[in-house]
Amino acid sequence: MSPRFFVGLAMAAYALGALVSFVSVGRQKRPSIALQLALAATGVLAQTIGLSIHCAISETHYFTSSMEILWLLAWSVGVNYVVILSAWRIAGLGALVLPLNVVILAASLLAQYPGAAPLSGVDRHPLYAPHVLMAFLGYGFFLTACAIGILYLRAEWLLKHKVFGAVLRGMPSLERLDRTAARCIWAGFAFFTLALLQGGYLAHVFQVSSWFLHPKMLAAEITWLVFLVSMVGRLTGHVIGRLAAQTVLVGAVLVGLTIVLGHPLQPDANGADPPEVQERARP
């Protein structure tokens, strides 16, 4: 079976999970949470199998095409969602995260399949795959923190506007949302820092000039700084609650920008490596 089959399966599982989540919004009942968890876990499993098959059968660039990036992003978000839902039962999170995954996967299916191509200079390096994995796990945690931040702002709005019906039908407490978002940021920050260090090392190895001024790297560095500020602000008690949620939203926009922008070591539209990589790959 092709990886696309498993991606389709994952998309169906996420879509069903999203449906259950929408239907049960505000009803913090165990069966609905368990069902959402089971569907999301099915999606993650299907995606893991699909990604594994893809990596095994293609000798393509690892995770440099749009389709691969979207697959990995959806996988990372799915993994985070499963972890968070099973650990802290954040009801309502599925209504944000699972549709997001459906959209990401649908977009991935529209993207061109990269096909088989031999490994080029950068993705032949042993640090490349861990770098990509760390970066995407970081993105996943940041995006999940963003979804929790949106829930926080919504719950706070309902409490402030005294809309009790929706508030009382099972929204998690503001404190729980804030704490869970903080945990996601801590985890995402750790992965993202590792990814940045690995990326810096790769740039050094391939002697990319001024890599830290490349638009993608600039966006990544600013993202890293925003989340650093958010974490330090939490520790000092200055960035919590609504401000923390708003900071995470800004961080999430930067995450999106970082993902969209091209990598300095990425092959061009014709599949040719950048000059630095070609230079290094020359015998």
Binding site: S173, L174, E175, G237, H238, V239
Partner: protein, 438 residues
């Protein structure tokens, strides 16, 4: 319904009688076993239980179906036992029989008939009534089955039915809102300003929800201390209000002051020192003691008595909706339980018919043996013939009973068999039996 026994539920509740009447007819828990014994003796009923709470006094009685006076006897007992003339409370009494009576008990136990729908206390009160009746030896198979099923249904309904969901009182509504802001309640200290009765209720609800640290501040040190003793809180001077606001995450305000005790200035200063930690304020004073504009401050959640009432109303509506979903299910379960219990009538009638025929046959044979007119061999042959005769004679009625039971008409058939063969009823056999356990 044709039945050889009947289940009667008779009583009055907050729906039909004022508290002034209910309190005169109520039974103390300690006197329940003795009262149940007296009830059984005076009403000559098979099984009995008395449920007496602040909201209801109810009698659950299993008696002979043909006892047309059962209800009157229970009413007379009630009047005589409590010393209240029947005419003073007869108008407030309600009465249910068989299926509706079982359903009523199910609804009472499941708190669908309570003043605060979904409250939990009634279940333990019903258990207590059942325990007292058991202690008095007044619980037989009928009450045992019906009460145990009532407890089971109440438990099922609470866990799955949503009747206990939502907050239906002001104090629980306050807890509900606190829980929407804070997760780990033991870590959040509470400040109580004012020592009214309602404050005490909310403090107790917060304590039940997990808040452990309370600081009481009031203009009167005496009242503060008394309140602190009653609620297990600490006292603090009202003059240090600003310091208290820096530490407390939950503030409950309920004073008789005609002006704002917590102004925007107080709260702005407190927020500066709180580093963004949310402050939850409940102001149940009328007139209000906290500036309503405080709710607009970032990190401040202020709710007054009307807000709490809105939450409680929502909770009540939620519970009422759940209750209306469950009532038909309880009615169906009541019918099922009653049918199960009554389906045994044909079996019992068959057993008694065989026992009576065998007893008559053996008695005749004994008489023959004593008379000495027949030798042993002839008596043996006769014994064999009579047994065969008995089996052939009873085959018809027994088959008819079985068929009737299959067709759902077992009780009526059992009743006819008993009449035709003049079978003794259980009451004839033992009078008001000792029915500790059948």
């Amino acid at each position: 319904m044709s039945a050889r026994w009947t289940f009667l539920a008779l009583g009055l509740s907050f729906r039909t009688a004022p508290v002034s009447l209910r309190e005169r007819l109520a039974f103390r828990a300690s006197e329940l076993p003795r009262s149940v014994t007296q009830l059984r003796e005076q009403c000559r009923c098979r099984e009995a239980a008395i449920l007496s709470t602040c909201n209801r006094v109810e009698f659950y009685v299993v008696g002979a179906a043909e006892d047309a006076q059962l209800s009157q006897k229970v009413r007379a007992f009630m009047a005589a036992h409590r010393g209240v003339p029947l005419e003073q409370f007869e108008g407030a009494l309600y009465e249910h029989r068989d299926g509706p009576a079982v359903q009523h008990l199910f609804e009472v136990t499941a708190s669908l008939d309570s003043q605060v729908l979904g409250e939990t206390e009634i279940l333990s009160q019903t258990r207590e009534a059942f325990r007292a009746a058991s202690e008095a030896g007044a619980v037989g198979r009928c009450l045992q089955t019906i009460f145990e099923r009532a407890f089971g249904m109440a438990k099922e309904l609470r866990s799955a039915g949503g009747v206990g969901q939502g907050r239906a009182s002001i104090s629980s509504a306050a807890v509900e809102l606190v829980e929407r802001v804070f997760d780990d309640l033991p870590k959040h200290p509470a400040l109580v300003l004012g020592t009214g009765e309602m404050s005490a209720g909310i403090v107790k609800s917060l304590q039940s929800a997990g808040v452990t640290e309370f600081l009481v501040a009031s203009r009167s040190a005496e009242r503060s201390e008394a309140f602190a003793r009653e609620t297990g809180s600490r006292c603090g001077p009202l003059e240090r209000l600003q310091d208290h606001l820096r530490v407390a995450d939950i503030v409950l305000v309920s004073t008789a002051a005609p002006h704002y005790i917590l102004t925007l200035e107080h709260l702005n200063r407190a927020l500066d020192a709180r580093h963004g930690r949310p402050l939850f304020i409940v102001d149940i004073s009328v007139p209000r003691n906290v500036d309503p504009a405080a709710h607009d401050l970032s990190g401040v959640f202020l709710y007054d008595i009307d807000d709490l009432d809105a939450v409680a109303r929502e909770g009540r509506e939620q519970r009422e909706e759940a209750a209306s979903r469950w009532r038909p299910r309880l009615a169906e379960e009541a019918r099922r339980v009653l049918n199960e219990l009554q389906d045994e009538a044909p079996d019992q009638a068959a057993r008694r018919l065989i026992e009576q025929a065998s007893a008559l046959r053996l008695a005749e044979l004994d008489e023959l043996r004593r008379s000495g007119t027949l030798d042993a061999q002839a008596i043996d042959r006769l014994e064999h013939a009579l047994a065969h005769f008995q089996a052939r004679l009873l085959h018809g009625p027994l088959s008819a009973l079985k068929e009737a039971a299959r067709e759902g008409d077992g009780n009526a058939a059992a009743e006819w068999v008993e009449r035709l063969f003049r079978l003794p009823t259980p009451q004839d056999e033992s009078g008001p039996r000792e029915l500790g356990r059948e």
